[in-house]
């Protein structure tokens, strides 16, 4: 194994998936952050992945997080006149975060992360076996 671009590939994927895990954590954590003003409500975030050549070998595709995009779904309007943050009409606005969809995304991200850790470990073992050749 020459300059080991396989580690760059698996590493970039682990990084991308961990960004995804962080944004999901942030979305779930803020699912109940209500506001009295629809413009100030938390918006769900989602990373955008793109395949990009790794430094060791430009023809080999690693993953790059191009940007973290904010959802443009309209906030949920709830009538809660007793709420301390309610506006003059008695409405509060909650972020349009779907906890079920977020959990599905969370499972997918953690599975992908695990798969790439396995790739990383296999590549490491093979590289060590190659280095120890003839000993």
């Amino acid at each position: 194994m020459s300059n080991l671009p396989i580690f760059d590939v698996a590493g970039s994927a682990m990084n991308a998936q961990s960004v995804r895990l962080s944004t999901i954590a942030s979305n779930l954590a803020n699912a109940d952050s209500v506001s009295g003003n629809p413009d100030d409500v938390f918006r769900a975030k989602q990373p955008v992945f793109r395949a990009e050549g790794v430094p060791g070998d430009p023809s080999l595709a690693g993953v790059n997080v191009v940007e973290v995009r904010e959802s443009d779904a309209a906030p949920l309007k709830r009538y809660e006149p007793g709420h301390p943050l309610a506006d003059a009409q008695g409405y509060v606005y909650a972020p349009a975060v779907d906890p079920v969809a977020q959990m599905v995304d969370l499972i997918s991200a953690s599975r992908s992360y695990q798969a790439n850790v396995e790739v990383f470990n296999s590549a490491k073992e093979l590289a060590l076996a190659t280095l120890n050749m003839g000993r």
Partner: protein
């Protein structure tokens, strides 16, 4: 030295290239529009073993020629053609094949060492 290792030195290098492609597939399992790549090992090996292949570029040239986009059995809506489980299985198999090639090279090296040291 490459004559002495015979087919196995080239095979080892090509198997490493295939592992890289498969790892890139698994890395891009969630990238929209990513096309899963694979290496046709037989034709890559044949191309790399051509006597007229340039010495340094033989492996790279053979890999470029034998790369192909592998269609998915279950295409996803975002155009990604990586099959998670299949990729897992292929990677495990490719890692085993790498070890097999490594064993062949290693036994060749051991034979040579025995011949040199006479023990």
């Amino acid at each position: 030295m490459s004559d002495f290792l015979g087919i196995h030195g080239t095979a080892l290098a090509l198997r490493e290239q295939r592992l890289q492609l498969l790892s890139a597939n698994m890395a891009n399992a969630d990238t929209p529009g990513f096309q899963a790549q694979d290496l046709d090992f037989t034709s890559a090996l044949q191309a790399a073993l051509q006597p007229n292949a340039a010495a340094g570029d033989a492996i790279d040239g053979a890999v470029q020629g034998a790369r192909f986009a592998r269609p998915s059995s279950q295409p996803s809506l975002d155009g990604n053609t990586v099959d998670g489980e299949r990729e897992h299985a292929l990677f495990a198999q490719a890692a085993l094949e790498y070890r097999a090639s490594l064993n062949f090279v290693e036994s060749k090296v051991r034979t040579m060492l025995t011949a040199i040291t006479g023990q």
